[in-house]
């Protein structure tokens, strides 16, 4: 199972093993990562699972899809080049070790 690390705005880190096929919003919720909320359950309607992908991992996670790109227009925290909705990143073995930064909201 790939390991995922969330770095919170205050510098605290939370790491967890995530089942392949689960998305990283549900993984965050299951591991009590604050400020990754996922109100709509991962169906691209709330933009409350916004994270920044650490630059080293950007190539492996890829770019946001069209609808995700549109939803990123209304994130609470500033949108950056590295912004993703974590419900749209699905855990794979290739992402083992990925680091996500959680914005302050």
């Amino acid at each position: 199972m790939p390991k995922v690390t969330w770095i919170l705005a205050d510098g605290r880190e939370i790491s967890a093993q995530v089942a392949v096929g689960h998305n990283l919003m549900e993984a965050a919720v299951a591991n009590n990562v604050p400020n990754v909320i996922g109100e709509c359950g991962g169906c691209l309607s709330c933009a409350t699972c916004h994270v920044y992908v650490e630059p080293d991992w950007a190539a492996k996670t890829g770019k946001p899809g069209e609808m995700e790109n549109d939803m990123l227009e209304i994130t609470t925290a500033e949108r950056k080049e590295s912004s993703r909705l974590s419900c749209q990143i699905v855990a794979t073995e290739e992402l083992d070790g990925i680091v996500l930064r959680v914005p302050q909201i």
Binding site: H22, E26, V29, A30, N31, N32, E39, C40, G41, C43, L44, S45, C46, A47, E66, M67, E68, D70, M71, E73, I74
Partner: protein, 405 residues
């Protein structure tokens, strides 16, 4: 020890209320009492990915079980509240035990309207979609070649129809009103979804009511319709609306009328009893309002938590909603109640579009079909109290990012 805040009902609203109470610094005892055995879970996927078998139960949980332990929330599941006693600030459980409360929050939700037994509503094979047990009962009946009758062309019925059609069932939707989605959307949105379902082989029969369901040996075999025709069916899904669970409040002498009456802070007619979510009927923009959505379950429950902690502002919801059918994501920003005109706007990609609702010249809601930018920007603009010019909206070449004023 101080008396607990007790939350009755264990769904999205209860989990949100509990989380907000803790976030706002309430560190006293906190109890959630729920009739179902499952940890509070998200209901929307039941009629979508859960019933189709794509999503396991634990992936529906609003929060993991460990969270309740870490937050010292006493989760009493499989427990029924039999009555509320506001005069002594107690709830009585089904097993006779009594529990004192400091404040009580009712997040009792709603239940599907059912068909009476006199017209076959109790036949085996007739289902509603509300909780896990419903979805677990429906899932094994979704077999290729089976005949499904959906009674009611609202979101629940249409989502079930979409899942079943994709599983290879023969699906007919009957709707008593002139058009599907009549209660919740304008004609262009109904037209879009009628076409979508028909393109997947679903038969949509509008202006068609149910006379009665017919069965043999207690099991559904078909339906007699209002036009006198007979339709064979192996399974029926009834999606004809939901009713607020307000009996507990009513029996306790708390004011109810189409839901539990609350003020802007979510307080009922008893100062220590609050209500939030599907079951609550609240004042908004000069009208009594009940919203049946995840947005309202979360936001109103959080508002109640804040009110318990001393907040005095009135709840001012920012409604949003979604429905997934086939490869179409419908996203709704705002609430179209009382609209007097609509504007159609084609989307930037093929097959995408949005319907904009106006009331007295002001934008109040948007239905967006695979058109997330219109939804996203519209949601933000509506929350900020902005509007848009219908003529500019109708021009497909106008810039969405500059449309809101």
């Amino acid at each position: 020890m101080s008396e607990p805040i007790v939350i009755v009902g264990a769904g999205q609203a209860s989990a949100s209320c509990a989380a907000k109470l803790r976030a706002l610094g309430y560190d006293g005892p906190l109890v959630i009492i729920g009739e179902e055995k499952a940890v509070p879970y998200q209901r929307p996927p039941l009629s979508k990915k859960y019933v189709s078998g794509e999503l396991a139960l634990e992936r529906l949980f609003v929060r993991p079980l460990s969270w309740y332990q870490e937050e010292k929330i006493d989760l009493m599941l499989g427990a029924r509240v039999a009555s509320i006693h506001p005069e002594t600030r107690e709830v009585a459980l089904g097993d006779g035990a009594r529990l004192h409360y400091r404040d009580l929050v009712l997040t009792t939700g709603s239940r599907p309207r059912r068909l009476p037994a006199s017209i076959g509503g109790d036949l085996a094979g007739v289902h509603t979609v509300r909780d896990l047990a419903d979805a677990d009962a429906i899932a094994p009946t979704l077999k290729p070649g089976a005949k499904l009758l959906v009674i009611g062309g609202g979101y629940i019925g249409l989502e079930a129809a979409a899942v079943a059609a994709q599983k290879g069932l023969g699906v007919t939707v009957i709707e008593m009103a002139d058009r599907i989605l009549q209660r919740v959307a304008a004609a262009p949105t109904s037209d879009f979804f009628r076409n979508l379902h028909q393109s997947h082989g679903v038969i949509i029969r509008e202006k068609t009511g149910l006379a009665k369901l017919v069965g043999e040996s207690g099991r559904l075999t078909g339906a007699e319709l209002s036009d006198g025709s007979f339709l064979p069916a192996d399974v029926a899904i009834v999606g004809i609306g939901i009713l607020p669970n307000d009996d507990l409040a009513k029996d306790a002498g708390i004011a109810v009328d189409a839901g539990i009456w609350v003020d802007g802070q979510g307080r009922t007619s008893d100062p220590h009893v609050f209500a939030a979510g599907d079951c609550a009927n609240f004042p908004w923009r000069g009208e009594r309002t009940r919203l049946e959505s995840v947005q309202n379950a979360i936001d109103q429950a959080e508002h109640v938590a804040a009110a318990i902690m001393g907040e005095t502002k009135d709840y001012d919801p920012k409604p949003w909603f979604w429905s997934d059918q086939y490869d179409i994501k419908l996203q709704i920003a705002g609430l179209n109640r009382g609209y007097d005109s609509t504007v159609f706007r084609p989307g930037k990609r093929p097959g995408t579009q949005s319907i904009w609702y106006f009331k007295a010249g002001r934008l109040i809601a948007i239905d967006a079909m695979n058109e997330a930018l219109a939804y996203a920007l519209g949601k933000k603009a509506l929350e900020a109290g902005k509007s848009a010019d219908p003529a500019v909206v109708a021009d497909p070449n106008s810039d969405l990012k500059a449309i809101f004023v």
